[in-house]
């Protein structure tokens, strides 16, 4: 192995790519500015719209109930509801968002309650639409209170104590430490974000130093130099890996700074619990995640190099890299799903294993057996991917594909 040659190639590729606006955008601008802005912006927007939706008193319609003045006046008096005149096409009114929910009262509702007959109240809402759900919730709350009050009245009228309804109480206790809660919230997300960043950081340079060089004809000129092809491809690979890891590090630093900033700015509008959750993320866990994801960065960089080497032009390489990115993100998403837990067979599935163990590490749980097994297998996959990339660089069918 000629380290001098590898260093020369690496140095040239690094200098070349740092002068390229496209690399700068994907390696520095996107992770440092775009991602935090997106997260912060989206987060603020979400908090604001939710708060606004909560504060807004929803317009609701009452269908029927002309014969039940008691419940009608109670509904009108409810502070959480704004009653609007009823129309026949009430479902349409909900669809068109003119009213958020509708309640349909049966005939003789007041009388039925007094008599102790069965009665059914229907609440109409638009599922999945947040403001409609809030309105339906408010209506539901109103009628639950009414039902409880009715039950109490009936019991009292028959001389039965109210406590008969609650023979015992239930208390739920949380044993998960705050870090564990954060781990479940954040731990699933973090490996996923890092895998995406690894890919975005590596993609442009990986394709440029392979397919791009073929297209410009410079590949032939370096192959004419008295340097082994292994050295050439390793120099290129190291530059791609550097770009990939820099993207991740820059993005994580920037996200950390954003969190600190967000904590100050949002201190008043966000529940303190959520902020404490973020603040208690374990630094050791973060370091562990970063180490675990190193072989993943190697594997992804090598995979993108392979795509670039196989392609005749940059454009062709891009059209392969898009679907490849999707394929690589799927395992990370699978690990994010709630309920998917680490076991012996998942521990050897590439990307899924690392994502799952990272979730645990962020939560402060260190299954050393799994960690060693997964790190070992991740290194193995990385070595295999790199070996294939090096092998491809020795194949003249690949380098001179036409």
């Amino acid at each position: 192995m000629n380290w001098r040659a590898i260093r020369i190639v690496f140095g040239k590729e690094l200098r070349d790519s740092l002068r390229d606006r496209r690399t700068i955008i994907s390696m520095i601008v996107v992770p440092v500015l775009a991602i935090p802005l997106l997260m912060f912006g989206l987060g603020t927007l979400m908090v604001k719209t939710m708060t606004k939706a909560r504060q807004e008193i929803p317009h609701v319609m009452i269908i029927g109930g002309e014969d039940s003045p008691k419940v009608l006046s109670a509904l009108r008096a409810a502070k959480s509801l704004q009653i609007v005149p009823a129309t026949a096409d009430f479902t349409n009114q909900i669809v068109e968002k003119r009213v958020r929910a509708v309640v349909k009262l049966p005939q003789d509702f007041d009388a039925a309650i007094t008599r102790g007959d069965k009665a059914e109240v229907e609440i109409y809402g638009y599922q999945g639409e947040i403001k409609s759900e809030f309105a339906a919730e408010n209506l539901n709350g109103f009628f639950q209170n009414l039902r409880d009050a009715t039950v109490r009245e009936r019991l009292e009228s028959r001389g039965v104590p109210v406590e008969v309804l609650k023979p015992f109480t239930i208390q739920r206790q949380n044993v998960a430490p705050p870090a564990k809660v954060a781990g479940n919230l954040l731990g699933g997300m973090l490996p996923y974000i890092i895998i995406i960043l690894c890919l975005t950081g590596a993609m442009y340079p990986a394709l440029d130093v392979t397919a791009g060089e073929k297209e410009r004809g410079t590949m032939e000129t370096i192959l004419c130099c008295p340097v082994g092809r292994t050295e050439l491809v390793l120099g290129k690979f190291l530059m791609v890996l550097t770009a990939s890891i820099s993207t991740v590090v820059l993005a994580l630093l920037s996200m950390g700074a954003t969190f600190q900033f967000a904590k100050r700015v949002l201190a008043n509008s966000v529940p303190r619990e959520a902020l404490r959750t973020i603040a208690t993320v374990d630094i050791g866990g973060l370091a562990g995640v970063f180490l675990m994801l190193l072989p993943v960065a190697v594997m992804l960089s090598a995979a993108l190099l392979m795509v670039g080497l196989f392609s005749k032009s940059f454009r062709e390489a891009q059209s392969y890299a898009g679907p490849l990115m999707l394929v690589m993100i799927v395992p990370a998403i699978a690990a994010m799903l709630p309920g998917v837990e680490l076991n012996a067979s998942l521990a050897v599935v590439p990307l899924v294993n690392v994502s799952l163990v990272c979730k645990e590490m962020i939560a402060g749980t260190w299954h050393w057996n799994y960690i060693l097994l997964i790190f070992g297998s991740a290194c193995l996959y990385a070595a295999a991917a790199l070996a294939v990339a090096v092998w491809m660089f020795h194949r003249e069918e690949v380098l001179f594909r036409s």
Partner: protein, 256 residues
């Protein structure tokens, strides 16, 4: 570079029954180069003349050890292409069609990079750079980025890149293809200078007039086979024609 009337064997290019086959999904096995044997000597320009797709580029890539022969042998400067490809690459300069430069590097950085890849010592490299830049008149643009240069300047950077390690053997693949007249003339003059300096030169071309003006020996290649070779005078006698174009057509059509 003749020593006591003998050709110094160390700088010779020699091929023997050189063959290169490719597998093609549609056409099956393709013999891009089919049993070619020839010899180029120092201080001489050897011209490979053939139509597009005749096998010129493949032959030159085999000489430069970019491709491995399927059978037959290549020896350049005394080294075998299969056993010692890196030794051969250290002794050749390969200039292919188009300038093929890194647009974001400056002229100086480009030539430095190739010097280092060729193992030129750091203390020798700067002197060598000065020499090459002076010879080619590149002083005014050596610190400008390659993508900002005119095509003539780019061509000079390309030449400087192939010359930085002072190779005794030069390989040119269609060197004037797509160049304007002035730039093409510079290249032709540069190839002559290489011969003047005693380098072994091989040039591929499909331009008859260029081959006629430039080459000491001409090999006519068609569908991977070397049909005939010799000096221009020998070819004229053999085919009874003065124009190289007539000789070429007769050779390809199989007429004596």
């Amino acid at each position: 570079m003749r020593v006591h009337g003998e050709v110094c064997p160390i700088l010779v290019i020699e091929t023997h029954q050189l063959t290169k086959t490719f597998r093609d999904r549609k056409r099956g096995e393709v013999r891009a180069v089919d049993g070619i044997s020839f010899r180029c000597e120092p201080g001489r320009i050897y011209g490979l003349l053939g139509a597009n797709g005749a096998g010129k580029t493949t032959t030159l890539r085999l000489l430069a050890t970019l491709l491995k022969p399927s059978s037959g042998t290549v020896r350049v400067a005394g080294c075998d292409a299969v056993r010692e490809p890196e030794k051969i690459r250290a002794r050749i300069g390969f200039l292919s069609t188009g300038t093929a430069l890194y647009g974001r590097l400056t002229a100086r950085e480009t030539v430095e990079y190739f010097g280092r890849l060729h193992g030129v010592d750091e203390d020798l490299l700067q002197g060598r750079l000065r020499e090459v830049f002076a010879t080619l008149g590149m002083g005014e643009f050596e610190d400008r980025r390659c993508d900002k240069l005119s095509s003539g300047m780019k061509q000079k950077v390309s030449i400087a890149r192939t010359l930085v390690h002072d190779p005794p053997v030069m390989i040119f693949d269609e060197p004037t293809l797509g160049l304007d007249v002035m730039t093409a003339r510079t290249i032709v003059q540069f190839i002559r200078d290489c011969r003047q300096q005693g380098k072994t030169v091989i040039v591929s071309t499909h331009v008859m007039s260029e081959a006629e003006k430039l080459c000491d020996r001409i090999g006519i290649i068609d569908r991977g086979r070397l049909l005939v070779e010799g000096t221009l005078a020998e070819l004229r006698t053999q085919y009874g024609a003065t124009e190289l174009e007539d000789i070429f057509v007769r050779a390809v059509e199989g007429r004596p």
